[in-house]
């Protein structure tokens, strides 16, 4: 039987954080891959052989070419280089994910703070509204909204954000309510600090850790949702090099021209897994309880 070494430290101080991150190879892998994806998106014009293929270009004589040294991932039904489009796709989905999460946080966090800190009627009103949103399955609600709104990336972002914020309201509310009961909040009140200042300077910083973890885990979920909506024709529209859309358009050529579906599909898979591993790692790093439990279980 193998004896697993117990984690040496529990407290998450600065240098310790780095040490714990370094100790976990999967997290490090997730972090590096995520970074590569983001950088690929940023530097896409420098990386790809045919930048114009990411847009509306068409090469009728080069349609549906198999992968070769000229076209690493082959070409699509319009003769566009799939490799160029997949790399450019790293700009679309992660960008939407970023915007969705930003909007969801901007809406969800203040509401959750207010609900948890003030309690009473304010809490009831805010939480019943979020309950209404949570009553619908997220993907279904996003689908319904996206089908009503014009099919643009902006609509997709909005549709997903609308389904996303209530989760953050719930998460932050629970945190804020527990922080609000801690003595230093009473102390701040007793020394003349206003409610607004207590909320944002005292309650928020002490409630952030689970939010950071949840957001990092949600990046992959949003990317999957974006791809799902685009796959169903409700998200990005043609020349946009969105991975889900590419899979949708390529499926009619599968399995004969397998590269049309496979490479964007792999891009979705790898991106989702990478961001998820990163989120998992952040949770382990930030949550000493998890580390302790893993230590006890020996794995």
């Amino acid at each position: 039987m193998n004896v697993q070494p117990l984690p040496e430290t529990v407290a998450a101080t600065g240098s310790d954080l780095v040490g714990r991150l370094r100790g976990n190879r999967l997290v490090l892998f997730g972090l590096s891959v995520s970074l590569v994806i983001v950088l690929a998106g940023i530097f896409a014009p420098l990386l790809v052989p045919y930048p114009e293929d990411a847009g509306g270009a068409a090469h009728p004589r080069d349609t549906l070419l198999a992968p070769s040294s000229q076209h690493l991932f082959g070409t699509d039904q319009l003769g566009r280089d799939v490799f160029s489009r997949v790399v450019y796709g790293a700009r679309v989905s992660p960008m939407i994910a970023f915007l969705v999460l930003l909007i969801a946080c901007l809406v969800g966090v203040p509401l959750g703070l207010a609900a948890g800190y003030f309690g009473g009627v304010i809490d009831e009103v805010i939480m019943r509204i979020t309950d209404v949103f949570l009553a619908f399955p997220a993907l279904l609600l996003a689908l319904a909204l996206a089908s009503v709104l014009p099919p643009t990336i902006g609509s997709t972002t909005l549709a997903i954000a609308v389904t996303w914020w209530p989760w953050y309201t719930r998460l932050i509310r629970g945190q804020a309510a527990s922080v609000a009961g801690r003595p230093f909040v009473e102390g701040a009140r007793a020394s003349g600090v206003s409610h607004a200042r207590i909320l944002f300077r005292h309650v928020l910083p002490n409630s952030l850790t689970p939010l950071i973890v949840q957001v990092s885990l949600d990046v992959s979920a949003v990317i999957l949702t974006v791809s799902a909506l685009s796959f169903l024709g409700l998200g990005a529209q043609d020349p946009t090099p969105e991975w889900g859309l590419m899979v949708n358009q390529g499926q009619q050529y599968f399995p004969g021209q397998w590269w049309l579906v496979t490479f964007p599909g792999l891009a979705i898979l790898i991106t989702a897994v990478a961001f998820n591993l990163m989120g998992d790692g952040l949770r382990d790093v930030f949550d000493p309880k998890m580390v302790r439990r893993r230590g006890v279980l020996g794995g």
Binding site: G120, R182, P183, F184, E186, G187, A188, R189, A190, S191, G192, V193, S194, R201, H202, P205, N206
Partner: protein, 263 residues
């Protein structure tokens, strides 16, 4: 008493959901006086202190009666005016000194922000005042760079007291300030409170269930039971020869080493 009391409470009633948690006929603290407020848990001691600062409103309690501080009626005061009094003119310190400081800020940040909030001209002015206040409570100014978790309980309580001091508070509401500290540190804090009172003329409302501490520190004591004051008088007299049955019980419940006299 020849002077006006600094803090006078008349007919104070605090109700939470129809239940009277405080029903105080009269209580006053004179300038430079340390008044002890004794009683068991749940007798309304802390609630009285919170009512003075208007903190009971937040938890949905109804407050009636009169609390006059230096000619200002606190019960009717609006929130903005109350905020100006809280911390600056009437300060409060708590039972668990470390957890009453926000763990994510350095002591200096909390200190400077409190001073800025209550009228320090600039950040450097606030830092200077903070350092001076720490020296007065016999702490090193270096503690300003520490996080609350890096302080001992006694140090953290001194920091809280220093904050009241830096703001030149006229009244200090001390809610069980030494109950979480060990006996030697407790004695140091009591000495500190006494010497500060002597130097600054600060009034202290000292809330404690520890009768020995009250007998040691306070001139007068008021004993609370179920929201009411059942006995009040010179601390040593009340606590050595209590007349009310509740006070007698309280005094008898303190275990004595060797004596075994406990009821």
């Amino acid at each position: 008493m020849s002077t006006e009391p600094r803090l006078a409470i008349e007919g104070l009633q605090v109700r939470i959901g129809g239940r009277h948690v405080v029903d105080l006929a009269h209580l006053h603290v004179d300038p430079g006086e340390i008044l002890g407020l004794a009683g068991e848990s749940g007798s309304g001691k802390s609630m009285t202190a919170q009512a003075v600062l208007g903190l009971t409103r937040t938890i949905g309690a109804a407050v009636d009666g009169s609390i006059v501080f230096e000619g200002i009626e606190l019960v009717e005061l609006d929130e903005a005016a109350m905020r100006d009094i809280r911390g600056r003119r009437i300060a409060m310190i708590f039972q668990s000194p470390i957890s009453s400081l926000n763990p994510v800020f350095r002591v200096g940040d909390v200190f400077v922000r409190a001073l800025r909030l209550h009228g320090a001209a600039s950040k450097s002015d606030a830092v200077e005042r903070a350092k001076a206040a720490l020296r007065e409570v016999v702490l090193s100014p270096e503690l300003l760079d520490r996080y609350p978790s890096q302080l001992s309980g006694g140090q953290a309580q001194r920091v809280s007291i220093a904050m009241a001091l830096a703001l030149r508070s006229e009244v200090l509401l001390a809610d069980e300030p030494t109950s979480a500290l060990d006996v030697t540190v407790q004695a140091e804090i009591l000495d500190l409170l006494r010497s500060l009172r002597d130097e600054t003329g600060m009034s202290v409302l000292f809330i404690s269930h520890d009768l020995a501490v009250i007998a040691d520190l306070c001139e007068r004591v008021a004993v609370m039971q179920r929201g009411r004051i059942v006995e009040e008088g010179i601390a040593r007299e009340v606590l050595t020869t209590p007349t009310e049955p509740y006070t007698q019980e309280l005094v008898a419940s303190v275990p004595r080493i060797g004596g075994g006299a406990s009821a």
